[in-house]
Amino acid sequence: MSKNTSLSRRTALKGLAAGLVAGPGFVRYAQAQASAPIRIGFQAHRTGIGAAYGRWYERTTSAAVKAINAAGGIGGRPIEIVVEDDGTDPARGAEVVAKFASQHKVDLVYGTLFSHVVAGSAPTAGELKIPYYVVSEGYHIASGKMNRWCLQPGITDVRAQVTSVAPWIAGNLGKKVTMIFPDYAFGYDHRDYLPAALEKAGANVVAKIAIPPTESSFTRYFPQIPADTEVLYHVMVGPAVLTFVKELGEFYGSGGPQLFGFIDSLEAVDINSPGLEFLNGSHFWEGSPRYAQANDSEAQKAYRAAVGIDDNGASVNDAKDISTAAHMFGCWETLYVIKQAMEAAGYRGPEDRQKLVEATEAITTVAEGPEHPQGDKVFDGRIHQVFGHQNISKLEGGRLNVVHRTSIEDGRYEPEADYTTQSF
């Protein structure tokens, strides 16, 4: 188990040492010693608004690189991660991609989370013709608005997430749904894609309540929730989430509709925090479960141990350091997709970047296992987007228990683009 959380040359060296001593990749690595490492530029949110996520993306990346290197690296070559902080700033994101391509001469760029940084960086990746693997969950890649060099092979996009939970909500919580969401792009993904998916499942949205992003008190919005609402679908984010839940509890007392939320609201936050009591018994979407589940696969257990999270989804070094479990698995899985695609393409160096993108596009399915502990997935090369199972968890007894796992098909939608028709 790794207790080292710093992603630097130290980590890489330590990982290699482990491989040399005990890893099954010893022979392969030894044969390839003359080969230069695969250099991956990690565009990290080390500072700025995304720093809490960036920390866990860094830890997961560190753990995955260590595991891959210990098993012989990629095609016998070790991975070397070059970290650049983008400050969660789209303008700096573009600069960082340019720096990776021209200064650090990395093979590819990887790891971006925030949508606006992806949007700011993607044009530069396209211009410089460098593969750009994001772990963002945004619909930006799949929408076709980026370019052929941008891929999201490790985490399902938000449109698919929203679409996939609708049948379960309709079948289990209620048919009349009121949506309450922040009044900007993140909220709009839910506003735009949930209603159709619900209707298909025989339910409907009875009200959409958009909350201004600068709002910090919510009581005056609650009377807008129709009285016949059976399910309140909430996706509030930001520091006022705790206040939102507390005021909702005060508004409804012990009753009220069923609640369904996205864990994005409470990523990296202790679910047992004061103020969140009203959420008890409610349901959440989770990409990968925060809490260890009774039926966790061996791969899931190994992944959690490697990243260093305990059964409550907190750091093994600090029970208060709650992970971003629902999203960060995407880093682990993306690195393994990169490995798979590089080995399939016979990747040698930057001259093979186009081959790498084509090899990624050619992937159709990935099997569940140590490389993909979140589950099996389908990759749609046309829209450069992966689709996986989603988890619906119930908050009970102070923990989130998975009560339903969606099928991959639940989240599929008709592609709106085809990157493979674009020239490089």
Partner: protein
């Protein structure tokens, strides 16, 4: 629409035109503070500061002066240690700058940004304010200057008297801009360039003008740290004896500050106040910026640059207005000399804001600094045995930590203002021999301090991004 707002919206445009986006602005420590009864703290803080003023009105300033004049001998530190300490500091700085160029690109793994921003700027300022002028010993120019200056103490050039310490003010403003407004002050390479150039330029100035002269006039850290050290509880006499004083005790004998030194102190408070304000939903909403999807520092450069300048002007203006009003009410005539003396009462507030504002950064980044310093060039070294120390990045997370941190912050803000009120009382007595006049003259400045207490607590308890 303001220019700044246009910039922000232009930067948001690429994201906004997309059909999708995700925002992972998370319920940070501030989310827990929003649940606390902070309104009572605001009212209580204002009352505490007002009550301090009322209590002081009953106290003879002379008795207060006597009390603050108490000293307890602590020992002796000979001046010859200064050379060795400075040399060690210089060598450490050289290693750090080299690490900035050659070490990790990650600002949380490279020791340069961590040491400069967390340990030097955040940490040493607090040490200076609580203890005294440690910077005099850590100054990384003194030893090299002693070794290389062919004039050793005799400078070839003498700056004109009118220059005062305005160069230090200008450099301090540049420093503040770099820290708060520049898009990437944490970038190890850029910071290494900035620190390296600043060290060289300062060294050249010291060779030309003398170490002591430029430390008083142009080297902004020496000037700023010197001012803050007046609050510290340790005093060193010219013959090397160390004396323990009460907090603020050294203010009793403080000389009136020049206009540039006064400006520097006010900028110190205004800038840290503005940094807090710039993260609030209030400020972001005012400028049409979505706090849940902050466009990043680049897009906010214009808005925050203007805001910072306005904050400095506003605080400076308010302070001078209060001093002018107070002097009129107390029968004094000369505002600027009075302001030069009374501005010392701003120093404890600046220190209090500094502590409150940077507390969480210090708690987390100091740990990263400890890790990074063991392996400055990311070579797998473990020089001090801390390279693999787990960083408890969540030390400030969760409801318990939020409660503790909020209370420490509130105590710092209120405590700082109470010390400020005491200092103003003492300094006003020096301006006005008549007790009544001295008391009346303090009313406007005390009103400003009460308002600033409330403002400081509001800054720390209102919704903020990040």
């Amino acid at each position: 629409m303001s220019a700044g707002r246009r910039i922000a919206l232009a930067a948001l445009a690429p994201a906004a035109c997309l059909p999708a986006g995700q925002a992972l602005a998370h319920a940070s420590q501030r989310g827990y503070v929003l649940l606390l009864p902070t309104g009572y703290y605001l009212a209580g803080g204002a009352l505490a500061v007002a009550a301090s003023f009322a209590a002081l009105a009953l106290l003879n300033p002379r008795r207060l002066q006597n009390l603050l004049g108490l000293r307890l001998p602590l020992g002796r530190v000979p001046d010859r240690w200064r050379f060795a300490a400075s040399l060690a500091s210089f060598l450490l700085l050289a290693v750090l700058v080299a690490a900035g160029f050659l070490g990790s690109r990650d600002p949380l793994s490279n020791p340069l940004p961590l040491v400069v921003w967390s340990l030097l700027w955040v940490g040493l300022t607090i040490v200076q304010g609580v203890f005294g002028n440690l910077w005099r010993w850590l100054d990384p120019w003194y030893a090299p200057w002693r070794m290389l200056s062919p004039w050793a103490g005799r400078a070839p050039l003498k700056p004109p008297a009118w220059l005062g310490c305005w160069p230090a003010v200008a450099l301090f403003l540049a420093f503040v801009w770099f820290e708060l407004i520049d898009p990437a002050p944490d970038d190890p390479y850029r910071l290494a360039v900035a620190v390296g150039l600043y060290w060289l330029a300062t060294f050249a100035a010291m060779l030309a003008l003398g170490h002591a002269e430029w430390s008083r006039r142009g080297e902004f850290l020496s000037v700023f740290f010197g001012l803050i050290a007046r609050l510290g509880m340790v005093e060193r006499t010219p013959d090397g004896r160390l004396l323990l004083a009460l907090p603020g005790g050294k203010l009793a004998g403080a000389p009136a500050l020049s206009l540039p030194a006064m400006t520097l102190l006010l900028v110190a408070l205004a800038s840290v106040s503005f940094d807090g304000l710039s993260q609030t939903f209030f400020w972001l909403g005012l400028n049409g910026v979505n706090p849940l999807e902050l466009p990043g520092r680049t897009a906010l450069t214009g808005i925050n640059g203007v805001g910072l300048a306005l904050a400095c002007l506003l605080l400076g203006g308010l302070f001078l207005l209060c001093v002018w009003l107070g002097e009129r009410m107390g029968g004094g005539e000369r505002t600027l000399p009075a302001a030069g003396l009374l501005v010392w009462s701003i120093a404890p507030i600046a220190l209090a804001y500094h502590v409150a504002h940077y507390l969480t950064v210090l708690l987390v980044d100091a740990q990263y600094a400890l890790v990074a310093i063991s392996d400055p060039f990311s070579r797998g070294w473990n020089l001090f045995g801390t390279a693999y120390m787990p960083v408890r990045a969540a030390v400030a997370a969760g409801s318990d930590a939020a409660w503790t941190i909020w209370n420490v912050q509130a105590a710092a803000i209120v405590g700082g203002h109470v010390v400020a009120v005491v200092a103003a009382h003492l300094l006003a007595a020096r301006l006005h021999p008549c007790r009544r006049a001295a008391l009346v003259s303090q009313v406007p400045l005390n009103a400003l301090m009460i308002a600033y207490t409330v403002f400081g607590l509001w800054l720390l308890s209102s919704p903020a991004a990040g």
